[in-house]
């Protein structure tokens, strides 16, 4: 026998002004199954909640309906109150008579009638409610961090220092990311590697961080608290357990002229290489594309074991009794079990050869901002001297162009890349500090310097270091007698301008790493049209995704600078530590379930589920033969959206808390 209690809130004047709570209470008392109906000014207040608790005890209520504001506001409040009074919280329902009634109508009489209807609807529903229990999911207290740049490093350290193991996967042979390539960082002009490498070493030596470099994510299965990740360790051709990082192999490698990725093509490396001297781990890998031995084996069509070309690295390796160089090494796929994943894959830059009006890349002295960093860097290809790639001479002036690719609808990149205004100002200062009588020019559209001490930094570049800022875009750059001519405009003075220069630096757009879409699909997380990964809410949930257990940090989510990447790294870590704070995760029991007796395995539900929460399940007979295939909902992943319920042809999926009976009861009550 139903014994429902109805509690109607005035919400001050918010509800009471349009929906008459007393009339509602009177009407509710007459509804079948309702044994108690009262109204109160502020139901969500302590006295209000106390009223509910006392009523539950006094009237032995089997269900509670609170007619008040949106469930988004206080469903949790009233359910908690009910639970404290000993009533299963899922036997408490909210009837929204504010957002759905008093706030959208003016006619008091009609609104009150509607209010009464809304209450009746919920009363009928509650009669069909079941006592649901939160779903408990075990948690593997290990985290996976994808990407070893500054954001990934920060996340890994925070989680590891928070007491949990971290698996850090990095695609290139060393962690450090783009920050390791920078010369100095704004707004302090700190040496980038000096502040980064201690963190890198900390990661490399941390007892709770398991570092996989030269590796990629192969597959991800499972759900929050219970992910199973396959990681492909690409063959390094070096046994890292034996290698001591002495570097002898790199000294003797005859392939010395391979363009170095770390130096963005401005410098060279060998085929067996460590990307930079401070690499962590400092163990080399062999670039099989360019290694003479591997090339010869491919050309001759013989297995690598039979190839005897070169092999100098192997000979030179001092390790005994077995050399650390191992040509026959193959890729290895390992499986790791983790409970949470943080994606921190960072960014790449828009190419400098994309603009025909800037030469389609045929002018070697037109370079990207990152290339300029390598020139300015003391550990770079020119040991920190600014020199023209074409002839090695020192440029007498440099033109910097902002917004190359960014804010360019014609190129499909309407967004702003956020960091270029700041690093360009920095570049003008670095240039001036190194070439005292040089002149820097900057073509800009706007100056975006909103961070702490940022605008002062840009003003310093202009007022103290003499950078000349011209407001306008550049239409064309062409070659003239060994120099470059830049045709731009200064809209502030209203003049077309022409500058003869020795070097042009293009501040190219920040973009997502290539194949981010594939990674996102592997993880089951959404991404936008630029392949930036999508946060759960742009304002309030910037480091979570819509997929429970997968977090984001750094430039993979959107262009940002180092402080923001680090902040996001720590934020993501805090979310992970939150997940790891209990041995079990409690989830809302509003999940779907399949009646396997009816299900005939069409799997339409699996097709429509946006969260990958539905899987195939094989029904076997006693001999182990598969008799049928049915759908199975993973209660750990299901978000209760109900799409599967709508899609099911056999009407055999139902949603707990919103099952067919409950919903039909609501409809019939109207």
């Amino acid at each position: 026998m139903a014994r429902i209690g109805v509690f109607i809130c005035h919400c001050g004047e918010n509800i009471a002004r349009t929906v008459d709570p007393i009339a509602c209470a009177e009407a509710a008392k007459k509804m079948r199954g309702v044994v108690h109906a009262v109204e109160y000014k502020y139901m969500c207040s302590d006295p209000g909640q106390q009223m509910i608790k006392e009523a539950i005890a006094e009237h032995r209520l089997t269900g509670v309906v609170v007619a008040a504001c949106s469930p988004q506001m206080h469903e949790t409040t009233f359910r908690r109150a009910s639970a404290e009074a000993g009533l299963n919280p899922y036997l408490c329902e909210i009837s929204n008579v504010r957002e759905h009634c008093s706030w959208v109508h003016e006619d008091k009489a009609a609104a009150t009638e509607k209010g009464i209807d809304l209450i009746r609807v919920m009363v009928e529903k509650v009669k069909k409610n079941e006592e649901l229990q939160p779903i408990k999911v075990p948690v593997t207290k290990r985290a996976l961090v994808i990407g070893g740049g500054i954001a990934g490093i920060q996340t890994a350290l925070d989680i590891a220092n928070g007491g949990h193991e971290v698996v850090l996967v990095e695609r290139t042979p060393s962690i450090g990311g783009h920050m390791a390539q920078l010369s100095e960082t704004f707004p302090t002009l700190d040496c980038s590697q000096c502040i980064l490498t201690p963190r890198m070493v900390e990661v490399g030596q941390h007892p709770r961080i398991k570092l996989y470099v030269y590796s990629e994510i192969e597959s991800v299965d499972g759900f929050i608290g219970n992910f199973e990740v396959k990681i492909r360790q690409k063959a390094k051709s070096v046994d890292t357990k034996l290698c001591t990082g002495c570097g002898a192999c790199q000294q003797v490698c005859p392939q010395k002229k391979i363009p170095s990725e770390f130096d963005v093509g401005l410098g060279t490396r060998t085929a067996i290489y460590s990307p930079f001297p401070q690499a962590v781990p400092n163990k080399p890998v062999i670039d099989r594309e360019n290694c003479l031995r591997f090339r010869a084996a491919r050309k001759k069509g013989i297995p690598i074991d039979e190839c005897t070309v070169c092999g100098k690295c192997y000979e030179e390796c001092p390790i005994e009794p077995r050399k650390a160089v191992d040509f026959s090494q193959t890729d290895e796929v390992v499986t790791e079990k983790v409970g949470a994943i943080v994606v921190a894959t960072g960014f790449e830059l828009y190419p400098t050869d994309a603009y025909g009006e800037y030469g389609y890349g045929k002018h070697p002295d037109i370079i990207s901002g990152l290339e300029f960093e390598r020139l300015a860097s003391a550990s770079g290809p020119t040991t920190g001297e600014i020199r023209r790639p074409s002839d090695g001479s020192v440029p007498k002036n440099v033109v910097f162009i902002q917004c190359v690719g960014s804010r360019d609808n014609a190129k499909g990149i309407p967004y702003c890349s956020k960091i270029c205004c700041m690093y360009t100002a920095k570049h003008t200062m670095l240039y001036k500090h190194k070439v005292h009588d040089g002149q820097a020019y900057v073509f800009y559209m706007d100056i975006r310097s909103g961070g702490k001490n940022y605008d002062e930094f840009v003003r310093r570049a202009i007022e103290e270091d003499g950078a000349v800022y011209l407001r306008g875009r550049v239409s064309r750059i062409y070659r003239k007698e060994g120099r470059l001519v830049v045709l731009g405009v200064d809209t502030l003075s209203g003049k077309k301008v022409e500058i003869e220069t020795d070097m042009v630096v293009l501040a190219t757009a920040m973009q997502a790493q290539p194949q981010t879409d594939k990674l996102a699909q592997t993880l089951g997380i959404p991404y936008d049209q630029y392949e930036f990964l999508s946060e759960a809410h742009p304002k309030l949930r910037p480091v979570e995704t819509n997929t429970a257990g997968v977090m984001l940090a750094g430039a993979c989510q959107a262009p940002k600078d180092i402080p923001d990447a680090v902040a996001q790294g720590s934020a993501a870590a805090s979310k992970v530590l939150g997940i790891f704070s209990s041995d079990e995760l409690e989830r809302e029991p509003v999940v779907a379930s399949v009646d396997e007796n009816i299900c005939f395995g069409c799997l339409a539900c699996k097709e429509v589920c946006p969260y990958g929460a539905i899987e195939e399940k094989e029904i076997k007979d006693r001999d182990g033969n598969v008799v049928r295939v049915v759908a199975q909902v993973n209660p750990g992943v299901c978000q209760g959206c109900g799409l599967c319920v709508a899609a099911c042809r056999a009407n055999c999926i139902d949603l707990a808390g919103f099952n067919d009976e409950q919903v039909y009861a609501e409809i019939k009550a109207l």
């Binding site: 009006e357 917004c403 804010r407 360019d408 609808n409 014609a410 190129k411 559209m445 407001r471 306008g472 875009r473 550049v474 239409s475 064309r476 045709l487 731009g488 405009v489 200064d490 809209t491 209203g494 003049k495 077309k496 301008v497």
Partner: protein, 200 residues
């Protein structure tokens, strides 16, 4: 004297330009790339991006009376490179049409309009251009002023004319086509249509 910025002027000019096919001026974010690459900018008064700015701010006369819209050579560099894909060269066409309709053509640039008119007069009469006739027509209306401005020009034109005759590159008589009257009808209809549109 400050330029008055008025909402009605802004909205009406923007609407007029948009309805005539000149695009939505608000889309231009004034980066100036059009001006930066304009090969004839040094002969202009307003720079191309300033023309768009005037449309954005409802400054009609400033732009309709400018030399700029006539100096524009329709090279289409601006349209090609504009990051917002705004068709500035086409806007110039639209502004030229309005400028003529309202009698606001820049005096110093009138020769260019006279040439266009001589050209079209030749087409209307013959169906194709009769170059000799067209040049004569144009020269008659402009030679005196051109000579005053730059006497060299007359000499050079004469040399060029002599060269063309010598190399047999000039027809002495116009060639008319069968469809001459058809072409004339097209001109008449267009004039009528434009007159009625102008009255609105």
């Amino acid at each position: 004297m400050a330029a008055k910025i008025e909402q009605t002027a802004i909205e009406s000019f923007a609407k007029e330009v948009e309805e005539a096919g000149g695009g939505r001026a608000a889309e231009c974010y004034q980066c100036g790339k059009c001006s930066a690459g304009c090969p004839v900018a040094s002969f202009m008064d307003l720079l191309p991006h300033q023309v768009v700015r005037c449309v954005q701010l409802g400054m009609r006369d400033e732009v309709l009376r400018s030399a700029t819209i006539w100096v524009c050579a329709s090279c289409l560099t601006c349209t090609t490179r504009c990051p917002k894909e705004f068709e500035i060269a086409h806007l110039m066409d639209i502004l030229r049409e309005i400028s003529v309709r309202e009698g606001k053509v820049s005096v110093r640039q009138k020769d260019k309009l006279r040439f266009h008119r001589a050209f079209l007069r030749s087409v209307e009469s013959h169906g194709r251009i009769f170059e000799l006739g067209m040049i004569q027509n144009f020269k008659m209306r402009t030679a005196a002023k051109q000579a005053l401005r730059d006497p060299r020009v007359l000499m050079q034109d004469a040399m060029m004319g002599k060269g063309m005759l010598f190399k047999r590159k000039l027809r002495f008589l116009p060639e008319t086509i069968k469809g001459k009257k058809h072409v004339k009808r097209i001109f008449d209809r267009v004039r009528r249509l434009e007159k009625s549109k102008g009255k609105k």
